[in-house]
């Protein structure tokens, strides 16, 4: 499909004129932040809320963002174990502070570590080596969620499976 000029081409539907409907995929991918942006909502007070969702083979993280005036807040962080089809909540933390990527990474790592530790205790496995392994596994699991959709054909192939998982996330703290 060749681009002839600015008007009269399929890209116009992805960026329609104000007042005209868009035919864009509900799944909005933010390459810069390596996350899907979903469930965008503007409150009566004029603040924008949205969810940032990251998916890997074994983890789904959902970040609850709030935009107030010229600041970006990170409210809640939800972490789910993922088996490729279904997800299970393994931890949730309320940050309610200015957004910083390192803070989010540390938070998610902490949740995954706690989860893995509790699982090993239940299974009667413990020890210093186990702790080191858990630390590393948690780090690897979190790194795995920072993927590029645009440059990773594996992620592109999995889009159909990821879609329902991402779109079912809702900002449940807002009534809408």
């Amino acid at each position: 499909m060749k681009l002839k000029d600015i008007t009269g081409n399929p890209l116009d539907n992805l960026l329609p004129k104000y007042g005209q409907p868009a035919s864009r995929d509900l799944l909005i991918w933010d390459e810069g932040q390596q996350m899907f942006i979903t469930d965008q909502y503007i409150s009566q007070a004029g603040h924008t809320y949205y969810l940032g969702v990251r998916v890997s083979e074994n983890l789904v993280t959902v970040l609850h963002f709030g935009l107030y005036h010229s600041w970006t807040y990170i409210n809640d962080v939800d972490v789910y174990a993922f088996n490729g089809k279904e997800k299970t909540l393994i931890g949730r933390q309320s940050l309610d502070t200015f957004y910083k990527d390192e803070l989010v990474r540390e938070t998610v790592e902490g949740i995954v570590k706690s989860y893995l530790k509790s699982q090993t205790v239940i299974q009667g496995l413990c020890g210093a080596t186990m702790d080191e392994q858990i630390e590393q596994k948690a780090k690897d699991a979190v790194i795995g969620t920072y993927r590029s959709l645009l440059n990773d054909p594996i992620v592109q192939k999995r889009l159909a499976d990821i879609r329902p998982i991402v779109l079912q996330e809702k900002n449940q703290y807002l009534l809408h």
């Binding site: 960026l15 995929d25 390459e31 007070a45 924008t48 010229s70 600041w71 645009l150």
Partner: protein, 155 residues
């Protein structure tokens, strides 16, 4: 821009960007930007937003002005919105991991990158085959039209 055009655009800013209707917006002709009223922190830094609109995009820059020396300007975030009817949708954001001085050039490059990535991911999701260079030139043209306000908006 004459007075009636700037009034129309201001009305559109309030319609298209309801998040700003709680703060007043003034048009700065030098920067070709709408600026929100600033908030000054205890340390003397002022935070505000610079908005540029076209009929297809809204580019919102979160700007900070340091309360010392030459009062340098920092670009803290860029959010690009597309439209869907009369609603606006975030199509991408940029938040630098370390501080960046504000420049029109930086804001423009960031916006082009956001729009280009958005178009590419949507093309992948919808099975459109558009070359990277076509996507990029379209993104560049739309951002330039927004920052240079070539497309007049009818409210």
């Amino acid at each position: 821009m004459n007075l009636s055009e700037s009034t129309k655009l201001t009305r559109l800013v309030n319609q298209a960007l309801p998040a700003l209707s709680n703060s007043s917006v003034t048009y700065n002709a030098d920067r070709n930007m709408y600026l929100t009223t600033g908030y000054t922190s205890q340390s003397g830094h002022t935070y505000f937003q610079g908005i540029q609109l076209s009929d297809r995009l809204a580019i919102v820059c979160n700007i900070g002005r340091g309360g010392w020396g030459s009062n340098p300007l920092f670009l803290n975030a860029v959010t690009v919105y597309g439209y869907d009817g009369k609603e606006k949708t975030i199509i991408g954001r940029w938040m630098p991991s370390t501080w960046e001085f504000y420049s029109d050039n930086l804001a423009q490059r960031v916006a082009i990158s956001i729009v280009g990535n958005y178009l590419k991911s949507q093309s992948i999701a919808q099975g459109l085959y558009v070359s990277d260079s076509d996507l990029l030139s379209y993104a560049e043209a739309q951002v330039k039209a927004t920052t240079m306000n070539m497309n007049q908006i009818s409210a």
